[in-house]
């Protein structure tokens, strides 16, 4: 058992995927998706992934990677606020402000160094795109009669961002953050699979509550920013493309309305593909322009 849990592929991909499935089953059969208990489960899983990949919290945090778990905790505190507060118009702006503060805290050593190199410019742009995307996504209001794709928007955006971020991170020589993003991608993947099976069976998919959405997307986006700031060989173009799924997910419902009307099971797939497009471009860019000798593993 300990050998199984010591295998990074199990802890990075298989276990988070299974936990995503369990979380989705909980939301379908045991708890309403808006339940604060579900947000607590999400928070506990997130802290487990952070602890497993980054180690226990360091007091006081010195390096950016040591700050990530504190940022995740800040996201959890905000995510556990009452749903009516998180659904208010001001929530998006609040999260954008939180995100901007996180970007400054993670990057202050580099910013204080004053080196405005290509990587730093890419990190700032990626951070800005993520801030706008997070604010747009969290500002989306739930429709009274939601379309089939609506519950998938945030999970698909997180899945796409995390998958692209994980590959960019590992190729860019930051393996631990790659593992962390891989875990989050697998968690979102497990959730999406269960919900999509429910749609195929004629049911309705459950979406994330605003709290769970905030907790998970804030965590994923801050880890991506850490990659952008510190991974020495991360592809700058891929980095700038990777947070775009957040904004695309917020924009998709409008154009999709008249696009595949009637084809209910197809709608989440089309929405997912549109959301994933910038991430696919980011992955291709990272793979095609990978530095000499870069591999999806440790050297």
């Amino acid at each position: 058992m300990s050998a199984l849990l010591g295998n990074p592929m199990v802890t990075t991909a298989a276990l988070p995927f299974v936990l995503g499935v369990v979380m989705a089953l909980l939301a379908r059969f045991a708890l309403p998706p808006s339940s604060p208990v579900l947000s607590l489960v999400v928070a506990a899983l997130l802290l487990f992934f952070y602890w497993d990949t980054l180690g226990p919290p360091v007091v006081p945090p010195v390096a950016a990677s040591q700050k990530l778990i504190y940022l995740a905790f800040a996201g959890i505190v905000a995510g556990l606020l009452p749903e009516r507060l998180l659904s208010a118009a001001v929530a998006g702006k609040l999260v954008a402000a939180m995100f901007a503060a996180a970007l400054l805290w993670l990057g202050w050593r580099r910013l204080a160094g004053g080196a405005l190199d290509l990587q730093m410019i890419a990190a700032l742009i990626a951070g800005l795109v993520a801030i706008v995307g997070v604010a747009m996504l969290l500002s989306l209001r739930a429709s009274p009669s939601p379309a089939a794709e609506e519950p998938f928007l945030a999970p698909a955006a997180m899945l796409a961002l995390c998958l692209a971020g994980a590959i960019i991170s590992v190729l860019g020589a930051s393996i631990v953050t790659g593992q962390l993003l891989g875990s989050l991608a697998a968690l979102a993947g497990g959730w999406c699979l269960v919900q999509y099976i429910a749609v195929l069976r004629g049911g309705t998919a459950a979406g994330w509550s605003k709290g769970a959405e905030l907790i998970l997307i804030f965590a994923a986006a801050t880890v991506l920013i850490q990659v952008a700031l510190l991974a020495p060989k991360a592809n700058p173009v891929a980095l700038m493309l990777s947070p775009l799924p957040l904004a695309v997910a917020a924009l998709v419902p409008g154009p999709l309305r008249g696009l595949v009307s009637g084809a209910r099971p197809l709608r989440p797939l089309v929405a997912g593909l549109l959301i994933a497009l910038p991430a696919i471009l980011a992955i291709l860019t990272a793979l095609l322009f990978a530095p000499h000798g870069a591999a999806l593993g440790f050297s």
Partner: protein, 204 residues
């Protein structure tokens, strides 16, 4: 002269004598302490670490700078201050070098230098000693002790005005003491890292 004036005069004389003695001691100490600058072109800071269940990985820092104060009469007054450029680490494989410079290990973007500053120098015999000091990697300081040997000190054969001293130092650190611990454990590296330093220093 009043009693008060006589007391003041005696006190002043005692103070002057004490100051003179202290100055002589300080001068004598300064006279024995010699300053050296590490010759970056002739400095090899190397390390080895166990690579999983297989072999031993080797690495080296190319960019080294620093200063040494050597007091042969009283070695405890000697000191060492050195800095390594993390960007200069190499292990004979580009991607591994990038990994080492990345946030999982030395984190060059946030902490571009590794520093060592001695806190205690002890003489073992005429040529060897122990240098204890703080090694700072990625913002975390840990006390380590290096076994140091003065290999030679002599004027350069081509320039009598240039005197160089050569030192060898060995020591051990653990990845568990620094922010790279999690990554190192995850990939089966270490935790013990053996350090071997060979360097020359120019007398100033």
């Amino acid at each position: 002269m009043t009693t008060n004036n006589r007391e003041t005069d005696v006190t002043m004389r005692k103070l002057t004598a004490a100051l003179a003695f202290a100055s002589m001691c300080a001068f004598a100490s300064a006279a024995h302490a010699e300053n050296y600058e590490i010759d970056g072109q002739h400095a090899w800071v190397t390390f080895t670490i166990k690579h999983g269940i297989y072999g031993t990985a080797h690495g080296q820092f190319d960019a080294v700078k620093g200063a040494i104060v050597m007091d042969k009469a009283d070695p405890s007054k000697s000191s060492v201050k050195a800095e390594l450029d993390v960007g200069s680490v190499h292990t004979a494989y580009d991607q591994r070098d990038s990994d080492l410079k990345g946030p999982d290990f030395f984190n060059a973007a946030e902490f571009p230098a590794i520093s060592f500053e001695s806190t205690k120098v002890e003489k073992v015999d005429d040529k060897t000693g122990k240098v204890t000091g703080n090694l700072t990697i990625s913002g975390v300081s840990k006390e380590i002790t290096l076994d140091v040997t003065l290999v030679n000190e002599a004027p350069a054969p081509w320039d009598a005005t240039l005197t160089k001293a050569a030192f060898t130092a060995t020591g051990k650190v653990s990845t568990a003491d620094f922010p790279m611990a999690k990554a190192a454990t995850g990939f089966g590296l270490g935790p013990d890292v053996d350090i071997v330093i060979d360097l020359e220093a120019v007398k100033k």
